[in-house]
Amino acid sequence: MVSLLKRSLAIISILVIGYWLAQGLAGVPFGEDKMLVGHYYLQHVKEQTGAVNAVTAVVVNYRGLDTLGEVTVLFIASTGVAALLWRKKRERTAKVGGSPVLTVGTKFLVPFVMLFGAYIFIHGHLTPGGGFPGGATIATAFLLLYMAFTIYEIPHKAFEKVEGLAGMGYVLVGLIGLAIGGYFLFDWIWQDWQWGVDNIGRLFSGGFIPIIYTIIGIKVGTELSGIVDNMLKEEVRE
């Protein structure tokens, strides 16, 4: 095993670092109200963005650029994984399929999982959860298919196009905001057109948050399944 001296040295150093971090954290007491900008958000989220779920409003509307960056990061990850594991001819090497319970269960469950995923990201501005968990749930649906069937493959060429289109959609929404409202990623549906101002708390409210979350949901779903697909294929040596 790795020699005792190295492990003990490691433990001592992480303890010292831990002590230092703890001292830093002592200055930020747990549970106290440390909010400054947070209060502004909580007070104004309803009338400024129409979303009931303050986190979603912050994620999509107030700090929209972060989420745009976030979507790009996932896009880079899926492109990077595809670029690195790219081979001329690739095939799935799974030899044994799922047990009958899994195969039958998957055939029955997959549509519902996808539906539930769609539900999550469509209702992002009302109930907890948004584009990311929704997309991830859809990806788990595809994962189930991969687990159950040895020959199943997602149509990755089509998925890449969907990813591209979804990404472009998001930026286009932002650019429309720039064209109409004068600011990039400006929520013109809520601020300019005043749609759904009256029925806060129901589906058709929250400005462009549902639109963006749908786009993110589809994008995250396709990207994560793309990553899973790339991971599961190996090169075919003639």
Binding site: K6, P133, A136, L143, M231
Partner: protein, 94 residues
């Protein structure tokens, strides 16, 4: 020490233990499961910290997908951490 406080301590302790096990286990598959467990406990903690969005995301992405990806990576590389004795001059190799 009310019940909620006790549950917090238990879950944090479980999380830290599963983290230590995830790092110490020689079988990489078990380590991947350990990592997923850490992520799961973290998701529960998020729930207790009044952050449902994050809890769902952590559960969906952290536990399910990153666990799955690591398992696929283990599938394509090697299952067990190879064991070899400590060569001299362990601190620096050139």
């Amino acid at each position: 020490m009310n019940v909620i406080g006790l549950i917090e301590y238990i879950i944090v302790a479980l999380m830290v233990i599963s983290a230590i096990l995830a790092v110490e286990w020689r079988d990489l598959l078990a380590a991947a499961v350990g990592m997923a467990a850490v992520s799961l406990f973290a998701s529960i903690l998020f729930f207790m910290l009044q952050a449902p969005d994050v809890a769902m995301t952590e559960a969906a992405i952290g536990a399910a997908l990153s666990g799955a990806i690591v398992i696929f990576a283990v599938k394509r590389t090697q299952r067990f951490e190879t064991e070899e004795e400590e060569k001299p001059g362990w601190w620096v190799r050139w």
